[in-house]
């Protein structure tokens, strides 16, 4: 709870109905998915609750966010901002924190058809933006988390791999103008948006250097460097026609499959083959989804229940599967792309199981177009989290995947995580195969203590393995402890990051549990 007079000052900013410091509300905001094993990894009790925030506040404008942050500086209260709010990184790291739920900042400021970008506030979801962009024949990059996640959060603050990455890139690289409330309460507008005359959203860099460089990096600062209130993000051509007609009932909606869409799943038979074929498919620029997923994951993306998953056991024998989904706007384009794919199949002696051994539900294609495939990961145990998350060349990603199998099997044997033969993986390519990322989705039971602890230990060991074996930096290297472990092995980046933190957050009010604190603050701890 906040002291009465402090609460009053916050109330004066947003109105009394949009701040709540009661036990009931603050406890709801203390919960998140995977918080239990993050707590355990940090030596705390493995419960799904983080420290309880002092209050939850719902601003509706950038100016309100600014005033809130100024008050946080005045009273040395930390703040944690969240949009759609999935995952432990939305949680405060201390009970001297308030949560800014940006739910009321939910406008699509514009869809600029000519300049091929959209400007959105925090609480517009990916599906919402896509639905509107489709009216112009366009789409947006959505993260693997799914279409319910906030594109603003994904683009400014949190990771950014997505299933359509071959043709829609990576969230961090699609950022244009940004409106950003810094931890000291100043509003910064990046690039062309910072001009005094005719500010606009079309570019986020300069004049001169690009402050996007301190904004998020690969994994995002998770509100540790301020609050992003609006962002310009690129739009991409929608891969096929935009009719999107759906009849019938959930979950197996009868989707009117567009004329020019086709899926391929084939076994590349070896790691080398997989790398070669994945690169080749990307060089040909034919797929809007080009993902390597494990045999079990192939079954999962076609399933809508655990029983359905087990029905598809036969599909699981694929050793090194690759999923390619191609779309086209015209018959000519479709014919060309099919011809190229057929040629690749012939050249590498590959067998497409789609429409031969297995006919997917029609709704599968809708999910491909709406980037909803990631959600299938929850089918088996109701919970999963990804280890890994390194991104560079395909070969590195595949090596990381291969190296992880025995480790994962060890935890499977301990019955801490579900048995995916140790193979669980999602690897996608970006920007026509210019780089790749791999993560290792791991199914566990978040309501089972043994599983939670096992998951935490597995994540920890997996991180350590990546460090020792030079397999790239995983997603979840965040927070002081891990930065202090990894920094010395990575050019002491943590020292530079701390300097940025100190310069931009002199009072250390932007909660940095999933970012980094300034050195001084660490020493105090």
């Amino acid at each position: 709870m906040l002291e009465k007079d402090i609460l009053k000052e916050f109330q004066d900013v947003v109105g009394p109905e949009f701040i709540d410091d009661g036990d009931v509300m603050t406890n709801v905001y203390a919960y998140n998915w995977c918080t239990e094993f993050v707590n355990y990894m940090e030596g705390k009790e493995p419960i799904p609750f983080s420290p309880v925030p002092k209050a939850v506040i719902l601003p509706s404008t950038t100016e309100e966010v600014q005033k809130i942050i100024k008050l946080c500086n005045k009273y040395k209260i930390k703040f944690k901002a969240q949009s759609t709010g999935l995952g432990p990184w939305n949680q405060p790291s201390t009970d001297n924190s308030i949560i800014l739920d940006l739910r009321r900042m939910n406008k699509i400021v514009k869809i600029d058809e000519k300049n091929l970008y959209a400007v959105v506030e925090s609480y517009v979801s990916g599906a919402q933006l896509q639905a509107e962009a489709m009216k112009y024949g366009l789409t947006v990059h959505m993260p693997g988390a799914g279409p319910m996640a906030s594109p603003l959060a994904s683009h400014t603050s949190m990771a950014g791999p997505g299933f359509t990455s071959p043709q829609t890139g990576h969230s961090a690289r699609n950022v244009l103008g940004v409106e950003w409330v810094l931890p000291d309460g100043k509003i910064m507008r990046l690039g062309s948006l910072g001009q005094k005359n005719n500010p606009d959203w079309f570019i986020g860099d300069g004049p001169g250097p690009s402050l996007r460089g301190i904004m998020r990096g690969w994994v995002g600062a998770k509100s540790g460097i301020g609050v992003f209130t609006k962002v310009g993000i690129k739009l991409f051509p929608y891969p096929t026609d935009t009719k999107f007609v759906m009849t019938g009932h959930a979950p197996l909606y009868n989707f009117e499959k567009p004329d020019y869409i086709r899926a391929y799943v084939f076994d590349c038979k070896s790691w080398k083959g997989l790398e070669k074929i994945m690169l080749r498919v990307e060089e040909e620029e034919v797929g809007f989804i080009v993902s390597h997923i494990s045999g079990l994951a192939v079954m999962a993306i076609f399933s809508y229940s655990i029983e359905g998953l087990m029905d598809k056991m036969a599909l699981g024998v694929l050793k090194n599967p690759l999923l390619v989904v191609m779309g086209a706007r015209t018959k000519r384009e479709f014919d060309y792309k099919q011809m190229v794919m057929e040629d690749i199949l012939t050249e590498y002696d590959l067998e497409n199981i789609i429409d031969t051994k297995y006919v997917p539900e029609k709704v599968f294609y809708a999910e491909c177009l709406r980037a909803n495939l990631g959600y299938h990961g929850f089918i088996a145990t109701g919970g999963f989290q990804s280890a890994k998350g390194q991104a560079d060349a395909a070969a590195l990603c595949l090596r990381a995947e291969k190296t992880n199998i025995p480790l994962k099997q060890k935890y499977i044997k301990k019955e801490a995580i579900a048995n995916d033969f140790g193979e669980g993986a999602w690897m996608t390519s970006y920007e026509g195969g210019h780089f790749f990322h791999m993560e290792s989705p791991t199914m566990f039971n978040q309501s089972d203590l043994k599983s939670v602890k096992g998951m935490a230990n597995y994540m920890d060991e997996s991180n350590k393995q990546d460090l020792i074996k030079h397999l790239g930096a995983p997603f979840f290297i965040e927070g002081d402890k891990l930065h202090d472990e990894w920094g010395p092995h990575m050019m002491n980046y943590h020292n530079w990051l701390r300097k940025i933190k100190a310069a931009f957050d002199p009072n250390g009010v932007a909660d940095s549990g999933f970012y980094i604190t300034a050195k001084k603050e660490c020493e105090n701890k």
Partner: protein, 439 residues
């Protein structure tokens, strides 16, 4: 049912499993057609805090179970600001295996059992129900005041028209229309008059299961004593309660049908013939109780097979209520058969239809919330291009008409049975009203 459909053990397991993914705030992701009509939850749309979402309520249930939150006005004000429309559950269960609506209902049940719920206004209507058999606290003897003298009721008929409290006291036009339609079709039907009591839905949905059971037994005793074979409901709430909730506590062996199902049959059989053009453009609002929540629980007595550590499957698969078996086609088939009528759809329909905002005690405890939800739905109906909104539930009717009034909308509202009457040529005056100002 021989087994408890949502055992305590399941509740305790599930409240730890929310992914906090926010899927529950929107209609199924693949159904989203616009930003404006993507949301599915009236409470979230009005109150914004995550606690009001399906997921937020699951977290609250867990926090309560763990003793992290204590009973308080704050807690009740969140828990009861929910119409239990079940839209969050449809969105969640698209892929997940949680039961948000069951959790919401059970959490209320616990609060009542622990001596805290429901809200004062809801307690008052519960008392009224116990005293005068209706939550409106109207005299029981006036229950059949709606019945015009020219309507033929057959006391020996095995087909019962269960009118329900709202149609009896508040939406009499619906009761009259339903009765006249049956007369027109030459179908003998009975009504219970003094022996018709509240179905118990209003109290059941606030978590007062004990009071509900009393009501349920009272009703079923009457029905069984009269040898009723089929019951027709024009109230979606009563229909859902009889069809879905009663069997969870006591089996019965009569058939239950909503009027739209029954009238569709009569049209098919040629017993109802539309003779009059009704040149209007309408949009149809799926009542929650006739749609997604009107799926009967199927008994499952299979085995849970542990395939491997942490992964089990059910053999045979446990039936999953995901709204697919609601009554969606019947009202649309009827509307499409009315000569001259054009049906246009809103964006949120069928199992992901947006709630009118009145249900589960909200209309009485939080009238402002009910009106605000209704206004959201009215706007969506207006955006469909229709100038008439039609539905099949007296409770939706009341709240949507209140919303029309409050928002100053030009939309007109009719129950589907009133449109049938017009098409049968039995209500020319209403037809003139409906078509006034152009279709």
């Amino acid at each position: 049912m021989t087994t408890e459909h949502f055992p305590e053990q399941e509740y305790r397991r599930m409240i730890k499993m929310c992914l906090r993914c926010s899927v529950c705030k929107w209609i199924p992701q693949v159904q989203i057609k616009s930003q404006k009509y993507a949301s599915c939850c009236p409470a979230m749309d009005i109150y914004d805090y995550h606690a009001y979402s399906g997921g937020g309520r699951i977290i609250l249930a867990l926090a309560y179970e763990m003793g992290r939150v204590k009973p308080s006005d704050d807690l009740l004000n969140i828990v009861y600001r929910c119409t239990e429309c079940g839209n969050c559950a449809i969105a969640c269960k698209y892929m997940n295996t949680l039961e948000p609506l069951e959790i919401i209902m059970k959490f209320r049940e616990k609060l009542v059992k622990d001596g805290y719920g429901p809200m004062p206004q809801q307690k008052a209507y519960t008392e009224a129900m116990k005293k005068v058999n209706n939550p409106y606290n109207e005299p029981h003897e006036k229950r059949v005041d709606w019945l015009p003298s020219d309507i033929k009721v057959d006391p020996d008929a095995k087909l019962l028209y269960y009118v329900g409290c709202t149609s009896s006291y508040r939406r009499k036009e619906m009761a009259i229309a339903a009765a006249r339609i049956m007369n027109a079709a030459g179908v003998p039907f009975n009504i219970l008059k003094d022996d018709e009591f509240c179905c118990g839905s209003p109290v059941y949905r606030t978590g007062d299961v004990e009071s509900f059971k009393v009501q349920l037994n009272k009703n079923l005793d009457v029905m069984e004593s009269k040898g009723i074979e089929t019951i027709i409901f024009s109230c979606a709430g009563c229909y859902d309660t009889f069809k879905v909730d009663y069997p969870l506590y006591r089996e019965y062996n009569f058939e239950v049908l909503h009027t739209v199902e029954f009238f569709e049959q009569l049209i098919e059989e040629g017993k109802l013939k539309f003779t009059t053009e009704v040149p209007i453009m309408v949009t149809y609002h799926d009542p929650c109780h006739l749609g997604r929540t009107a799926e009967r629980y199927e008994e499952w007595a299979g085995d849970e097979l542990k395939l491997m550590p942490l992964v089990s499957i059910n053999i045979p698969p446990k039936p999953k209520n995901i709204g697919a078996k609601g009554v969606y086609d019947a009202p649309r088939n009827i509307l499409n058969k009315i000569p001259g009528l054009k049906l246009v759809e809103m964006e949120r329909i069928m199992e992901y239809s947006y709630c009118c905002g009145a249900g589960a005690g909200v209309k009485s405890a939080f009238p402002d919330m009910a009106i605000r939800s209704s206004k959201n739905r009215i706007e969506e109906a207006e955006d469909s291009g229709a100038n008439i909104l039609v539905s099949a539930c007296p409770f939706c009717s009341t709240n949507l008409q209140d919303g029309i009034k409050e928002s100053g909308s030009k939309l007109k509202y009719y129950d589907i049975s009133e449109l049938i009457l017009m098409a049968l040529g039995l209500d020319p005056e209403k037809l003139i009203q409906a078509t006034a100002g152009g279709a």
